[in-house]
Symmetry: C3
Subunit: 265 residues, 3 copies
């Protein structure tokens, strides 16, 4: 799989795929910038009147419910159905699923009506979607991560899609195949948007390769960027510069660097 | 009060309180990142269908009308009433009150129906809420600041809540008690979101202490971060890096640094 | 024209004009910060109930359809008509015109009902508005730029307003007068918001001078900022720090620097 992952990053730069996002207003700028940093072309459009036409011309579609509203949910369902019908991979980021009944219901509805190619979430969110009781508070995971591998596999088999659970260790399941990534840095939990940006990178990768390879590649890139950003920090710097150095890192990533940093098993 | 303020920052890091924001789309990312930088856990949710349930699990609620809309106003009122009923402190940032009739009316309605624990605004906004005629243009204060202490005290006594007026000098009033802060740097007026971030820090602090201590602590942190960020600037840097160094500073703040920098009287 | 352009930047700092934006949620923060960096005062307000009153007190109005919705379109039309009626210059950024039928229809409607003073877009967008068939994908231009000068002139004469086409080379047309700018750096295409920020700078400039001078000045500032930011990059830095150094550059711009960098013909 490693050679395929290394090829992904070069393919993105060649093809500059259009990645349509319907996402939240907190991290939309981060998602756009990380998509550009890796070499893809982001477009954010969420008006129900135009999302089907926008999704239809995209190479992948990222749906993120971070600040969902009745209108954006309508847009996500319309765009998601259109993309799925055309074979365009849909990446679903169920931000905060489990935190409120409305959010959980919307997440379940997207799963049922859109059938995403990849779901990427933290342990709490994925546990909720798997139908197991989870600890969640706000949009941050407070769930025990020791079952992550098992839960990812269960949800992947149940829904027939790729499931990526990100946390200290990341697990990406495709049916009964599960890959593990040990990249990342604790500083990624001290900035907003690491999860959303990870989903945008998965969307950028899935635009040029299969869903399983794309999910592993995208999640790996975010973890590696966290490590590179931390290494680039100067004395006295904190979460502000760390965040900018994440974009720096992704914009400098290539197959060679990715191969050197990745801890995949 | 200083020892209580110093303790606040340690308590936030220990408790990692959930701070629910209903805020504007211009600085939502800044508010989330500053909340994370100080050690709290931000959640932004503004769909009326879920805000009561989200607010009910939060340790504090920040309402900011920077880019208010009919829908977010409905969400703010519902979440605010829920929080107030449960004794969860509500921090209200009346961005641009006075700039349009609609904005002023919404601000007054939030005061009447939510009864916030803390109001944090600039001199123009607080003057408008105090019922005095003010000079306002857009969302920036152009009012004379010489009456800030008096106006803050008047509004605090009238509404029975803590009132923080921020500007060159900050005044935080709790009934007839008024504290003065002389921290800050002029560069804070050259980036967007300094006020919003200040309110988010007040929200983070009020989640672990009483409203008066929390308001003084949060406002002090923002001013101190401005000074630290300015000191960290390298030759040739301007408002872009200054803004990132604000997050760096807050993410590195502790009781010792806070005690060393604070100019409280 | 150069001496007028150099004077613009000083006038902005003196007058600190209010620039009302109705813009997208992806780059609203960037637009606010670049407006502040150049010395103007941004206000973002998009609720139809208040936009006319806000626009009426502004020195210029920037309309940007990057993430348009039914509600923001209504707000743009109301604010735009109000501003135009009061002689307040309206800058229109037709983000993604041509990408969906809805977006194109909205852009045409704004042209017809608001009569902006300046239109600033990329080659694809301007070509669509000129009524020529264009290649567009998402919100990024994929059109051939060799006709930019001609198309800008045609659209300017047809609509009787200033038209700025930005790309590798920028052309700003005022009827049959066309100026050319050769500033900029390829890194500007690797971050989101360069176009939106350019429009915000045009808005800041048009608030203190005529539309033609303002459009040339604003577009020049963005290109120059791109060059200065690139020159300030340290080894190992990428698109994240580049973006922050853009704000640094604009916040440090003055007439002298502008005169030294500008490549105007």
């Amino acid at each position: 799989m490693l050679s395929k992952i290394k090829a992904v990053i070069e393919k993105i730069k060649e093809q500059r795929p259009l990645v349509h996002h319907i996402t939240n207003y907190v991290t939309a700028n981060d998602s756009a910038n990380i998509t550009l940093a890796v070499g893809a072309s982001p477009v954010m459009a969420s008006e129900p009147k135009e999302v089907e036409q926008m999704a239809a011309q995209a190479a992948s579609l990222v749906l993120n419910i971070g600040t969902l509203s009745s209108l954006t949910v309508e847009a996500m369902l319309a765009a998601g159905r259109k993309a799925a019908a055309k074979g365009i991979p849909v990446i679903f980021d169920p931000v905060g699923a489990g935190a409120t009944e409305y959010r959980t219901a919307v997440a379940r509805r997207i799963l049922a009506e859109v059938k995403p190619a990849v779901i990427r979430g933290n342990m709490s969110e994925i546990t909720v979607l798997a139908g197991v009781t989870a600890d969640i508070r706000g949009v941050d995971s407070v769930a025990d991560e020791s079952n992550a591998e098992k839960i990812a596999g269960q949800l992947s088999q149940k829904l027939g899609c790729v499931v990526a659970v990100t946390g200290k260790t990341d697990f990406i399941a495709n049916g009964n195949q599960v890959r593990r990534l040990d990249n990342g840095h604790i500083m990624l939990t001290r900035v907003t948007g690491a999860g959303c940006m990870s989903s945008s990178l998965v969307g950028s990768c899935c635009a040029v390769t299969d869903a399983f390879t794309g999910a592993v590649a995208g999640v790996a890139m975010m973890g590696i960027a966290g490590e590179m950003a931390q290494q680039a920090l100067q004395p006295g710097e904190g979460t502000g510069l760390f965040r900018m150095r994440l974009f720096d890192a992704v914009s400098r990533l290539n197959g060679e660097l990715l191969g050197r940093y990745i801890r995949l098993s």
